[in-house]
Amino acid sequence: MVMDKEVVLSMRGICMTFPGVKALNNVDFTLREGEIHALMGENGAGKSTLIKCLTGVNDFEKGEIFFGKDQHPIRNHSTLDAQKNGISTVYQEVNLCPNLSVAENLFIGREPLTRFGTINRKGMISRARELMKKLDIQVDVTQTLENYSIAMQQMIAIARAVDMDCKVLILDEPTSSLDDKEVEKLFTLMRSLRDEGIGIIFVTHFLEQVYAVCDRITVLRNGQLVGEYEIADLPRLRLVAAMMGKDFDDLQSIKSKEDEQVSDEKLIEARGLSHARKIKPFDLDIHRGEVVGLTGLLGSGRSELARCIYGADRAQTGHMKVKGKEVRINAPIDAMRLGMGLLPDDRKAEGIVEDLSVRENIMLGMQSLAGVVKRIPMEKQMEITKHYIDLLEIKTPSTETLVKQLSGGNQQKVIIARWLATDPDFLILDEPTRGIDVGTKTEIQKLVVQLARQGKSVIFISSEIEEMLRTCNRLAVLRDGEKVGELTENLTQESVMKVIAGGERS
């Protein structure tokens, strides 16, 4: 039935080369009106690059794009061009202005004008309110954007794109920072847009979501087209196989029985730590060789709790013991000296230093432990960098490539390498697998279990309960900025959900 619909967009023979990498090789892509089309592939498969070629961010070398009912050739030279042509995009990372109001963000570049040519603020605000109401997003449109969570900002970005009278809507990893309820809301919206005849390109790493909402799948691998499939013809396992080109151990257990045993030695004892308006006082013990998961809805204080321990947000009350010794952590460097490391959830804002090379990004942690005066000799830097590039299979043309040129998953691996290089006793991983392909996801999960085997402790934070169940020995549950319980036995998706949702405390 989908077949009958008219083609709204076709890309033919797209080629694109980055220095040292053939990013796209003769890729075709077809989108029909009124369909939701998943674009799948591992990190570096070329999904984002293809999108960027379409929207004019990248200037591709070869190939053609045809658009509209009459299939006239188009070539966008900027996202503005693309928008004018009816192609709107919401990217993985929110691309709005945090210091402007929600309404201003919605209408930036196309503000309603008054008769005198000035911006019609009243009109803008009322139109923004209408739009938000239509999409069922509860925000005060006069507030500055940065007052809202990343999830909310994402929704606003989508609302902006939706409002721009588009024929093709591209959603590049829109759900990575949304919780289940928000995702459901987004899907409802996507379905209604589809029914209006808009073609939607949906880039995601969440397999379930593809099957929940998409009509059709195009799979890329290593910059090449693997194929285009009807959703019914491609069961989950075959999709994964198509993406990776190999069999996949997604559902296999990665923990063995022995991994359940943890030592009695307490590495961290936190008592009554808190940070105003972010996390209420909490107690938490972490044993050597243990993986503790922090779970809860987005904004429940998962990240904040971890940041409080690490000193990323300085604890305002309470005290903490590390290896039995009373400590005071004022800044991240104090925590690092005690053998801690934090992989933050917002990779772009707090993880990578984008204009530094892969080597410099990896060395940053070790170097700041060594201090500014004791520069680590270049041979040693190269040795360490190469070691971790091999160990974590980081795909990079060279050690001196700027980290911003890598794909998201490889950037994440670089930050993991940064911390592994400091040989920490205790590592906090905040959403380490967000926006990362399935293969790398499993690698990271295995790595976590392995670290625990080596006697290191890990705090693991993830929105995917399944992933936590596979890796964690114990789960701490948070709700509304408060630690409400801990689960050690009978860890199942249901039991965890119950505690997250509220009701009885365990």
Binding site: E350, V353, D355
Partner: protein, 363 residues
């Protein structure tokens, strides 16, 4: 042919290509002018030894460009770490000079002709001048790093107040130190102009620091992403503060050189508009004023390029009053050539050519 292309591509791809290219451009203008005028074509490069000192246009450029080059070192770090500029360096130079002269001569004294009339050894005065400049840097750094005030606003304070404080110290008068021991900083050392030697020393010290410590990586990391740097254990506040102190310190050194040249504290004129040259030097060196990655060599070359332009103007007989106009035109050319738009244009051209080669090769 193919080798030639590869060679050309390698050269144009180098980070220092454009700064060096601009210097080259200025040199060509000189040579062509001299040739047209019927002078010795390589007049520009001629060096001669007169009365035990080296003379020549190149030496003149290196000499007169010393202060800007010294300032450019600190400015590069400030721009990289804080994505802002320190506009107080010129005023701080003059403050350093005024304090130095006032301490040496004593408050209210306007002329010192005998070494015995000095109130303290010259090196103490010089160090005091450099120290006060470093303090100014510390103050600027505190406002920027700790109080999070925008760099231009924070440094505006000393931009306006620096000279006034200098005038207070010198009691609104010019203070002359007619002593060869003091003039030496702006004079000559063996056969070289001392300012050149001091600038070279400053550059050398900074290069050594960047090579042997990880300061360079810290500064760039903080400039690119202060939040990520903090999570990775870097004290961003301290690094930015340090950059401003270093910038202040070098302003002090430049101030002493400029003061020694005219062996007097001339609060109103020392270092006048030099902050603009220093900032321009950083930009000409191919550094983004938005902070982040920096290239010290580029900034230094930039500083001397500016001086080369000025010297060329005078050599061409342009009146001093009109020189800035021509200077501006040359600067526009250089900056436009380095701009992202033009760079992207050439990159596209190159890609198209490569594609054309590929197609030709296939058929």
């Amino acid at each position: 042919m193919k080798n030639g292309m590869a060679w050309l591509k390698k050269i144009t791809g180098m980070r220092l290509f454009l700064p060096l290219f601009s210097v080259f451009l200025v040199l060509i203008i000189n040579v062509v002018y001299d040739a047209v005028q019927g002078n010795y074509a390589l007049e520009f490069f001629r060096l001669e030894l007169k009365e035990g000192a080296l003379y020549g246009r190149i030496i003149d450029i290196l000499n007169r460009g010393s202060e800007a080059a010294i300032l450019a070192i600190g400015m590069t770090l400030v721009v990289s770490s804080s994505a802002g500029t320190d506009i107080s360096v010129g005023s701080v130079m003059s403050l350093a000079g005024s304090l130095c002269c006032m301490l040496l001569a004593g408050f209210g004294v306007t002329h010192v002709r005998e070494i015995g009339d000095l109130q303290m050894p010259i090196f103490v005065g010089v160090l005091a001048g450099i120290a006060v400049a470093s303090l100014c840097g510390l103050f600027n750094g505190f406002l920027v790093a700790k109080m999070k005030i925008q760099p231009m606003v924070a440094t505006l304070i000393f931009f306006t107040a620096g000279r006034a404080i200098g005038l207070l110290l010198t009691n609104n008068k010019m203070v002359y130190i007619h002593l060869d021991e003091f003039k030496v900083f702006g004079g000559k050392l063996w056969i070289f102009p001392t300012p050149t030697v001091i600038a070279a020393a400053c550059i050398l010290i900074m290069v050594l620091i960047l090579k042997t410590t990880s300061l360079g990586m810290y500064v760039q990391s903080v400039g690119i992403n202060p939040r990520a740097s903090r999570i990775a254990g870097i004290n961003s506040t301290a690094i930015i503060l340090l950059c401003y102190v270093i910038c202040g310190l070098f302003s002090g050194v430049a101030g002493i050189v400029a003061t020694s040249r005219i062996y007097s504290a001339d609060s109103n004129n020392i270092g006048l508009n030099l902050e603009l040259d220093a900032i321009l030097a950083v930009a000409l060196g191919g550094n983004s004023l938005g902070g982040g990655r920096f290239n010290l060599a580029g900034s230094i070359i930039g500083a001397y390029t500016i001086q080369a332009i000025t010297t060329t103007m005078y050599a061409l007989g342009v009146a001093k009053a009109q020189a800035p106009v021509y200077k501006a035109i040359i600067v526009i050319l250089i900056v436009v050539v380095q701009s992202p738009v033009v760079k992207a244009f050439f990159a596209r051209r190159r890609a198209q050519k490569l594609q054309a080669y590929a197609v030709a090769g296939r058929s």
